[in-house]
Amino acid sequence: MLAKYRDFRIPALVGTMVLVSVLFALWEAAAQSGRVDTFFFSSPSLIGNDIVKMWDKGDISKHVTITIREAFWGLIYGGLLGTICAFAFGASKKLTNILLPLMVGFNGLPKLALGPLLIFWFGIGIESKVVMSAVMVFFIFLFNIYAGYCNVDATLVNAVKMMGGDKWQILRKVTWPSCMPWFLVSLRTGLGMAIMGAIVGEYIGANKGLGWMIQDAGGTYNITRVLSCIFLLIVVMASLDYFVKYLEKKILRWRPAMEQ
């Protein structure tokens, strides 16, 4: 290869898009030639038209916003509660010994099983989805950040103690920043969980949201609509993840760059 081109790299995003386009083209070709039944598998052009139609009718903004709002509040409540609990566990050995086995037990429970209860307690409105989402997010934050708390470098704690730092200063100067990477990992995983919680909540009982749309379309064998919703979900997830990744890069500047 010419030396001039050796350093030329295709950006990863372009690579992803090329791959997706190729797959879509194959799918479309198969659908057009009749080798694939569009009733069962739909086709990219049908999905594209459907998305445009939903956009025009205002379905996208309405339902996607609802789902994102549910996931957002779920993430906030679950994340906040999980973080606070993780720090409480870190600070008190006694509390950990009593509550941690319970938490592990609850985490092992499929959250889906809570669905009917949550609908019963919080209704079919946004609240039950927020709670479902929060429950799923809570455990991720709890376990991750608790692990981070247990990994705080005692040398740093001692250094701050030796300078006369009190408990609050140790928390602010050492414990919190060293839990930061764990917090960001939780945020990234939690984001997916929050959306999942919202969708699952909508499956069980709702009258709006992406999850409800998927459920509703599935019930009427509208495969194109199901796939459009899935496509929208993927786009939402990928862009949110991208944002958190960017945040991570900004916040964790102090860490040596990871070797590939």
């Binding site: 040398t155 740093l156 001692n158 250094a159 701050v160 103690k161 030796m162 300078m163 006369g164 730092g165 200063q169 100067k173 050492v174 920043p177 060293s178 930061m180 500047r253 102090w254 860490r255 040596p256």
Partner: protein, 282 residues
């Protein structure tokens, strides 16, 4: 010959800054045995004195330093600073540990200002103080670097600067330059000598490097192998100001080193046998 160094030439009239009275420390090993780490150590450190604690590894010298610093509570005995018994950590003390203890998420200037921040010095003032110290210790230009971007020697220099920022009366250093290469070590030792000459702080310096102890200290205290006891003390009457490169070739330096080394060797051998014994029974 050894006795010459063991006898104090004249009574010291400087006030006692730090006193250890019959300190004993023991801890439980992982297999449940009670291990006596420090056995009945008494030691006086005078104002503006530079004392080096030396001994074989595992002799409890770091434990002893942690007791002085208030990080470890002794089983028995007292620690007195300026004649008063201390409880926990004292604000008169600056402590530099063996392991790197810079906050990895804070820049050099924030690390240096950390102690001041904890003491609630207003932000503007503490940053100005930190910036001035950074220039004085030759770290100018690295104010906004993160620790991982610095070399081992520079990190140590930042750590020293951070301790100096809080202007402690007593400075504890626990094998601060252990893992560094010889050349960097000598440069930092020169820094320490210069800083000590300028500030005349009371220093307790733990090391297992005999040459380093003699180069820096007024007095070398030899701690025996476990359980740690004071085996001997040696006055180092080499003239000051000292220079790390030149002092090594001084005749009396070599004499002192030989004398202490004879005693130290005994303890190192004992410590090694002890370790073998421990590995046999466990």
């Amino acid at each position: 010959m050894a006795k010459v160094f063991n006898i104090k030439s004249k009574p010291d009239e400087r006030a006692i800054k730090l006193a250890l009275k019959n300190i004993s420390v023991s801890f439980l090993s992982t297999n449940g045995h009670r291990v006596l780490a420090v056995n009945d150590i008494s030691l006086d450190v005078r104002e503006k004195e530079f004392v080096a604690l030396i001994g074989p590894s595992g002799c409890g010298k770091s434990t002893l330093l942690n007791v002085m610093a208030g990080l470890v509570t002794p089983e028995s005995g007292q620690v007195l600073i300026d004649g008063e018994e201390t409880q926990g950590v004292s604000r008169k003390i600056g402590y530099m540990s063996q392991i790197d203890s810079l906050l990895p998420w804070a820049t050099v200037i924030d690390n240096v200002a950390l102690g001041l921040e904890i003491r609630k010095v207003p932000k503007k003032k503490r940053l100005a103080m930190a910036a001035e110290l950074i220039t004085r210790t030759g770290l100018a230009g690295f104010e906004y670097s993160y620790p991982h971007e610095l070399s081992g020697g520079m990190k140590k220099r930042v750590t020293i600067t951070r301790v100096l920022a809080i202007d402690p009366e007593i400075l504890f250093m626990d094998e601060p330059f252990g893992p560094l290469d010889a050349f960097t070590k000598e440069m930092l030792q020169d820094d320490i000598l210069r800083i000590w000459d300028e500030t005349k702080k009371t220093v307790v310096y733990v090391t297992h490097d005999l040459g380093e102890a003699i180069t820096l200290a007024d007095r070398v205290v030899l701690i025996s192998s476990r359980p740690g006891e004071v085996k001997a003390e040696y006055e180092i009457n080499l003239p000051r100001p000292r220079n790390v490169m030149d002092i090594k070739f001084d005749h009396s330096f070599v004499d002192i080193e030989r004398t202490i080394w004879m005693d130290l060797k005994e303890e190192v051998v004992k410590a090694k046998e002890g370790q073998e014994y421990v590995s046999k029974i466990s």
